[in-house]
């Protein structure tokens, strides 16, 4: 191929991948789990791979969102602070607050 054609091919494929990247990100949704009254609401949340989940702590003391299989761990989320997680792997992920063992939730990630 001649140089200008190579340049055009490269430019076109860059444009295509950029467009693809933008379209995938555009479909990714943001979800919120509220921590209030020592519970996760919603207790069960279903999202798609690539979505983000934000835990927001509205209690006057810290909590965590820690997966049973340790695939995610917010560490301590202070009062009025939040923690954002991008769900990359599909599956069902039971989680809990390590500071308050009665607090349990499930994150379900589907393709």
């Amino acid at each position: 191929m001649s140089t200008p054609r190579v340049a055009v091919s490269i430019a076109l494929s860059s444009l295509l991948s950029a467009a693809l990247f933008v379209s995938i990100s555009a479909f990714a949704a943001n979800h919120t789990v509220v921590i209030d009254g020592v519970i996760f609401t919603p207790a069960t949340l279903t999202v798609k791979t690539g979505d983000t989940v934000t835990w927001v702590n509205k209690d006057p003391f810290p909590h965590t969102a820690t997966a049973q299989d340790n695939s995610f761990d917010s560490r301590e989320i202070a009062t009025n602070k939040r923690w954002k997680y991008t769900a990359r792997n599909a599956g069902s992920f039971p989680y809990m607050c390590t500071l308050h063992p009665t607090m349990k939730g499930t994150l379900i990630v589907s393709r």
Partner: protein, 174 residues
Amino acid sequence: MGRSGLVVAGVFMLAASAVSAQTGGPTDPQIAAIVVAANQVDINAGKLAESKSGNKEVKAFAERMVTDHTGVNKQATALVTKLKVKPEENDTSKSLKSGGDDTLKRLKALKGAEFDKAYVDNEVTYHQTVLDAVDKTLIPNAKNEELKSLLVKVRPAFVAHLEHAKHLQASLAK
């Protein structure tokens, strides 16, 4: 129930009836003082257990009590400051404090597994008693809606603490 548990329960019942006989229930300033005293008693016991206990689970529980009750007190104090409500010491708040001091004295004389058991047993009784007071006396009598909302909002924390304490109590008994 345990001696100090009976004392705490008795304190709440006597004081609540004494207050109701006069006024029909604690006022908001009195409720504020009761809430702060109730939290402070558990913070004090928690600090003692954090320093005294050699048991990892007991220490973690105690640390949780200190952190959570301090957080609740901070929120309660911020609210009453905003509402310009000045906490008013009363028979209930005073008895909670003296009961708390008696418990600390009793616990300080113990050590090791004996201390752990006594601390956790007391935490079970104490949280149950405070929960009953929140449900039967504090929430029903709170006049200000924000104060009432705060009591309703922190109630689940006491329930979670009670559950945690009961699990700990069961595991210590093994």
